[in-house]
Symmetry: C2
Subunit: 423 residues, 2 copies
């Protein structure tokens, strides 16, 4: 199970064969130098280039069915009000089909693991397992300080955790207090303690907008969201902080010292006009673990990590007036190994022993006609449609551009969408 | 010739038929309401959505073979030195195959007209005519103040103009003084006068970097490039000014008053760290004609106008802290009708009487699964690979994703590239 032999694939510029066993890279060697095992599928890659699967470190996957609901018109806080109105209508079916669509889009664009923050994780888990993308799914605490919500959400989080122990496959469960402006102090503390008691990751929005920072400073004696969370004991290497866009030098220092994973979501931040001066270099130098995410489709408007990489890089170069900012090798890390590190996975690289999460790229098109290295052409010139085959943990999720059952997913989701918009 | 009947195509949300005669939209009506003409090809679009072909208003097309030659390392002026070294090796063959590759990439990404500034325009014209994309090709003046170059380039420009009169098809010839920092004052003036005498467009780089502005101010008594060009009498509605990125209020006023076309090239500007605060709103309000371009592949690194549209919009929203900046309808104009206006073409719209320059989009994928309008999904969510059929002046350039002879073009260009890199 989940063993496959890939012949004639380009790995770091060399024609290679890859022997994948039990979902991991077992042996990688120049083409013709490995014995072909019996009883496993042999896939002839015909010279396609292998690249590690992307790890999307912040998304709300079922929002794939809400993309574009507020174009060109809102700031983040008005936009959230609209989203919350729509979300009051969602149910198990919506989550199931929304996650199916999201996974389909992630597979097509080369993502093999995603860190999600959304509702009804049991249904999201079922959808992701069917599709084959590795999910990290969370219980979202969002109590707005309402005492009954505070206690109810703790109970729900506990029972959701119990149910997650019965999830099949390698889905991870996480605890997601939404943000400092939507979760009571007592539940921020409770969530962190609960997560640590059970060895779970903590997934939270932090300093996404300037308003979030100034509101927090007013409410909490001048403390920024980072300082406030640190004072509460929430921050640590198990924290995945989405956005971290409006940071003081002190914030950067704290995030570095605590070894927090900071997830940059440039397409969302720019499109919603939340900001763009993500302090990549300072965070990296301080010791934070910087990753990339797409955010949900309602803001970004897609789940394409390749696009996120290019946009992140060019905007870093632009706002810093430095064409060397966020160079290619580091950029690739933010979309692959750094995410794996945050999630405790031995993944994000094509190397013996690692999880066999990767995809194959067709370079026979104009975008790769260049003296530049493969990665430069792939990230700066091409689009994700050059990704033709995707393998996760040794399982083939897409073959020659086709995902099994994709048209059915689209048509079922279309029906779901009609119900949501015209109930 | 160049007549075709398109059945069952979605135009502005309505199932329609389109009768194209002699390269123009003759009749557009709801499906089933037009008589099907005899003796022309009938193309059943099967519900695909029609969109006007993009007009790329600033590029250097043969640089398609130089993409990625200086990743992550240079500022614009160092980068130009490298380019000029490489360019000393180029010949007719390089231009021919470079333009073929560029046209292939443009067709695949929906561009039907491009405004070029590069060498040996006769060869570029031959390549573009074969491919079917409508080119505007220029003679580039770039004398660095060298007296012999000044006079030689005038003569060459004159004879190139004479040769352009014999170009077949509807290629336009333009005069392209490179920039204020590379062309002598006398040739800036001469180029504008020569262009106006013959009714040609003037294509020039203006205020691309801060250095260009401060250098110009030092050399020319405090005048910015815009003020300097205006003092020389160069600016007018026949001027296509690439970049116009570093502008004072006075510059904006002048560009508006003169009705100059200002071409924004966001991917190039950000990647080379030249800047990003393009003053779209002020230029529009002042009366300038704002268009988009990709710049050459050595900087940007592709010719994808759909990507240029998204990046332009999200960066406008971000740097202005205004999510309503550069809204969709205006954004579409910058990539279509505004370019047509600048070039004197009745194009950029799907409307009776206009040039039949358009493409068909396949929406049966996750990117269009949304309650948002088609244009929002197309620009913010999808990628150019959803463009499946491209028609220019009634001639089919791409059909179901395939351009005739595309593999041969790639392989011939690959050989050309090897000669350039390892001569």
């Amino acid at each position: 199970m989940n063993s496959i032999f890939i012949k004639n694939v380009t790995v770091e510029g060399r024609p290679s064969d890859i022997d994948i066993r039990d979902g991991r890279f077992f042996r990688i060697a120049p083409t013709g130098n490995l014995p072909i095992p019996e009883g496993v599928e042999i896939l002839d890659a015909g010279g396609l280039v292998a690249f590690p699967g992307f790890i999307n470190m912040h998304t709300h996957s079922s929002m794939s069915l809400m993309r574009g609901i507020a174009e060109d018109v809102r700031d983040l806080h008005e936009w959230l009000d609209d989203i919350w109105t729509l979300e009051s209508k969602i149910d198990e079916d919506f989550i199931y089909w929304g996650t199916k669509v999201a996974c389909l889009e992630m597979i097509k664009t080369g993502t093999t693991t995603f860190n999600d923050q959304y509702w009804i994780p049991d249904e999201a888990c079922r959808a992701a397992r069917e599709m084959g993308v590795r999910p990290v799914l969370s219980y979202v605490l969002l109590d707005h300080g309402d005492p009954s919500a505070i206690s109810r959400q703790r109970e729900e989080c506990e029972s959701q955790y119990e149910r997650s122990l019965r999830w099949e496959g390698d889905a991870q469960f996480a605890v997601a207090p939404h943000a400092v402006y939507t979760v009571s102090e007592s539940n921020l503390v409770w969530a962190a303690e609960f997560a640590r008691k059970h060895g779970l990751k903590i997934h939270i929005h932090v300093s996404e907008t300037q308003k979030e920072v100034t509101d927090c400073q007013e409410l909490h004696g001048g403390l920024s969201p980072v300082e406030y969370l640190d004072r509460l004991g929430v921050l640590g290497p198990d924290v995945i902080a989405a956005h971290t866009l409006w940071l003081s030098d002190k914030d950067v220092e704290i995030l570095g010292q605590r070894g927090v994973t900071c997830v940059h979501n440039i397409n969302s931040n720019t499109k919603l006009a939340s900001g763009y001066r993500f302090r990549y270099q300072e965070l990296r130098d301080a010791g934070a673990n910087v990753c990339l995410g797409t955010d949900g489709c309602a803001s970004s408007n897609n789940l394409d990590m390749l696009e996120a990489m290019k946009t992140s890089a060019i905007i870093q170069k632009a706002w810093r007036s430095d064409p060397t900012a966020l160079p290619l090798n580091e950029l690739i890390g933010t979309a692959t190994v750094n995410g794996a590190k945050a999630l405790g996975l031995n993944a994000g690289r094509i190397a013996e022993g690692c999880l066999a999460d990767f995809f194959l790229v067709d370079t026979d098109n104009t975008f790769f006609l260049s003296p530049a290295p493969f990665a430069a052409n792939f990230i700066y010139s091409a689009h994700s449609d050059c990704i033709c085959t995707v393998i996760r943990g040794g399982r083939v999720l897409m073959r020659d551009g086709q995902v099994e059952g994709e048209k059915d997913i689209l048509h079922n989701a279309q029906d779901m969408l009609k119900k949501l918009i015209n109930p």
